[in-house]
Amino acid sequence: MSTQDDKAKEVSADGVAGPIILFFILGLAASLVFGWIIFPKLLYSQKKQPIDFNHVLHVEAVEEGCESCHFFREDGSFSGIPKLAQCVDCHEDAQGEDPNEVKFVEEYVANGREVPWLVYARQPDCVFFSHAAHVKKAEMDCGTCHGHIGESEHSRVYEENRITGYSRDIWGKNISGLKKHTWERMKMDDCAECHTTKEIKTDVETLPWPINWLPRPYEKQTGNKARVKTVKEACFVCHK
C-alpha cells in the first residue's frame, strides 16, 4: 500500500544519514578547535612589560627578600609593586650596563615618571583583599598565590583579556579553568578553596560553663589567628 513512500524514505535515509553524521562531526570538531585553541588566542592580547625585570638579580642584591621592595606601609596597607621613589633609592644612576636598566634610568628616573607596570595579579575593584591578613596573620607564603615569580629572570608576556581588561593570570593559563598549583588561578573559587574548607586551629580556652552569646560556645579564642572559614553573610568581607 505504501511501498512507494517507504522506498522513498529509505532512499532518502540511505543518501542523507552519512552526510548528517559527517556534518555533525565536522561541526563538533570545528567548534572544539575554535573553543579550545582559537578562542583563547583571540581573547587575550599579548603585551610586553615596559621594562624587562629580573627578579633573581634583585633578590640576590637585597637583604630582606620579597619584603625589601614589596613591603607593608606603616598603616598596615601593602605597597604592592614599588613606586619609582623606591627604585630611585638604588637606581638614581644606572648601576650596570644592562640595556633595560639604562632604559629605566633614562626614560623614567630622569623624567620622574612612574613605570606603567602591568600587574599580573590585579583583581577587579569590587574585591577587597588585605595582604596583611594573609601574610602577617595567617603567615602565608607569597608564593602560595603568586608562584615562583621571585625566581624569574625575565618579565613574562602579560596577556590581557580583551573583554575585561584583566590579566590572564586571574582565570589561569589553562583555559579550562583547571590548575595544578594554588598560584595558577586567582578567581573567587580559588579563594574559597581555603575559605570554605579550612578550619584554622586557633588556640582556645575552654570556658567553665556555656555562654551562649559567644561565637563558639564553651570556647574563647586566645590566640591571634582568626577563623578563615567563611560563614553566612561573609560576602561583604571581600566584596565591599
Binding site: P19, F23, L28, G35, F39, S77, T164, I175, G177
Partner: protein, 728 residues
Amino acid sequence: MKIGRRSFLSFVIGGAAGTAITPLPWKLMDDSSIWSQNWPWTPVPPDGEYSQSNSVCTLCPGGCGITVRKVDDRVVKIEGMKGHPVNDGGLCLMGLSGLQLLYGPTRVKTPLKRVGKRGEGKWEKISWDEAISEVAKKLADIRSNGGSHTVGSIVDSENGTVPNLFKRFLTTYGSPNFMTMPSIQDSYAMTLQVMQGVSAQVGFDAENADFILSFGSGIIDGWGSPVRMFKANSAWKANGKKVVQIEPRLSNTAAKSDKWIPINPGTEAALALGLANVIITNSLDSKKISQSSGFDSFKKLVQNEYGTEKVSKITGINSATIVSLAKNFARASKPLAICGKGQGSIPGSLNEFMAVHALNALVGNINKEGGVWAVTDTKYINWPKPEMDSIAENGIQKERIDGAGSEYPHTKSLLNRLAEVINSGDGSLEALFVSGANPLYSMPDSKAIKNAFDNIPFIVSFSSYMDETASNADLILPNHVYLERYEDVPTPAGLSKPIVGLTRPVVKPQFNTKHVGDVVMLIAKALGGGIADAFPWESYEACLKETLGVKWDILVEKGFEFNGDKCILEGDFNFYPDAMKSLSDFSSVSIEGSAISYPLILIPYDTIRLANGYIGDPPFAIKAVEDTVLKGKNSCVEINPKTGKELGLTEGRYASLLTPRGKAKVRVHLYEGIMPGIVALPRGLGHTAYDKYLAGKGCNFNELIGSTEDPVSGLDEAWGIRARLTKV
C-alpha cells in the same frame, strides 16, 4: 553525497554541541559580567598609599574643619574633621564637593590676559612675570598721574591676613577704597556698635539655647556657619528645645521647626517690638536690664506704638499668637532671637536687627550662656605701621568712592552703592582688584554692576575659577584653590568662641597658579619705594608664619586654636539709640516698584543645595537641586495655588517674571507653603560663567532686584521687589 539543508543543520547542531564542551560560553559569561562592572563611567578609586591631612574649608565663612583623604598625591575624599569646635565631623554638600573645585573644568590654569572684547572669552596665556609687571606698570602710571585713590579692591571679608595684605597694599599705595562683600555680619556689627558701643563680631551660643526665635534665618538653609547650625538644630530636636520660625515662606527651616508663623515680609521689626511690648507689659523682662539707658524711652515706644492689635495688623499675625509667642519666649530659661534672612547674604534693615537685639536684651541673654555674645578676636595681626610717602598720605585722606565713613559714618564698606556712584558719574575707579568674590553675580542689580564695571578701565581678578567677574576682567591672576594653599581662617560667622583655623595645602598646586598673598607682595615689590618696604616678607607663607607666631606650630598640628576666651564686653546696653528713633512711626521696610504695575511681591529664598556667594555650585551639588527649584533650564517660582488661580497659571507652566529691574522666563510651582500674593525665587542659579554644569541653568535673582539703602547704615536692606507674573 548531497549537501542540503539537513546537512547544514547537522553541522550547526554539531557545532553547538561542541561549543558546549569548550570553555567558550562559560568564559564569555564570566568575562561579560566582569566587563559590565568596568564601564568607564563607573568611578573607581585609584590604588596607592592612603593618607589623611587636616585643613579648614574656606568655601563659605563657616570655617569647618576638614579631613582630606588622599591616595598617593590625589585627593579622593573630603570629610568633616572630628573634634573640630565648629563642625565636629559634619560637612555640608559644598564641602563634600570640594574635589570638583580642585580637579573640575572651571579652573583658571595660568595667568590670562584679555585679547578680545570684555566678556568675549578670548584670552592670551601670559607668564607670571609679564602679568605682574603689567599690573605694576598700570598702577605706577595711575599713581604718577595723581589718581592713587581711584584704585579699589573687593575682597570677601575684612578679617584674616589676605584681606589685610590688600588693605595694607591700598593704604601704602594711597587709596581708601578697600571694599568687602556685604553680609548680615555688617548689620550685626553695627547693631553691637550702636546698642552696646562695642566694635565686635556677633556670636550666638546656639547650642545652649532652649527657645530659638528665628526671624527668617535659614538655620538649616546655610545661615551662619552652616554645619554648626545643622548640628545645633539636631541637638535642639533631640533635647526637646523649641524652634519658632517667622517668615512668609515655608522654607526647609520652617518645615523642621516646632512652629512656623507666616508674616507679612518687611514687618519683622514691628513683630519684635510687639513682642517686646507684651514682655514689658506683663513684667516678664529681666529686671536687671531695665536699669539700662534708654529703657524708659524704649518702653514708651513699644507701649505707645507697638500694641498687640496694631502689630497684628502690620504683620498679619493674629493677636493671640503674638501674646503667646512673647510669653513662651520670655519664660524660656535660655531664649535666643536671631535674624538675617536666608543665608544672610543681604545685610538687611538695621531697625530689624536693633529690634531683635533689644528683644534678646529684654530677656537678659546678652553675653550669657545660650545667648548673644559680642566676640572680639584676640588680634593676631600686628604688623608694624607702614611708612607712608606723601602720595599715600594724601590718597588715603580722600573720600571713599562708596561713601562709607563719610555719608554713612559708622559703616566700613558699602559695595552696594558702588554701581550707582560710578553709573551716575559721581565717582570713578581707574583700576579694581577682585579677590575671593564674584560681585558681578552676587551683588543685587547685576545689570547696574555690569555697567559700572564697564566704566572701570582696568580690572584684575584673582579668582581660581572662570566666574562671572573673572570672565569680565582684563587680567586674571589665578589663586591656588583652598586645598593647595596656606591661609588663616578667623572666627567663623556667628561662632561665640573666638578661634583661628589654618587652611593648608593638602596637594601640590595642580596648575600654574600663585597664592594671592604672594602676588600682592610681588606687585608691591615691583612698584618699589615705600610700597615695597611695607611688605618685608619673603613670601606669603613666611608672612603667615611670622604673623601667627607661637600659634603656627599648634595650628599646623591641630588645624585650629582657640584665640582668646569668650570676650565679655560689658558695654552699657542702650535700648534706645538715636538710630532707633525712626521706629516711632513704623513703616515696613520699603521695596521698589509700584503696586499697580507690579501687583505681586518677589522674594528670594536660599537652600543649602545652592551656593550663592563666590563659589558656584559644583556639579555634585547642582545635581542635588530638586525639580521644583530648577526644572530643565528654568528656575521655578513658587506661588500659592490661590495666586496661581487668579493669574491662570498652573503647575509647570512657563511664565514671564517682570520686575522694575529685569525680566526672566520661569516655570510655575504651585506651593501651599507661600503666602498668597508673593512669588519666591531661589538664589544661586542663573550663572553665565563657570562650567557647562552650572552655566545657563535658571535665572539669577540678583538680575531682578535692586539695592535699597538702609537710612542709618547705608547697607542694602532690600528683602524683595515688586513683580508681575504673566503667562507666556
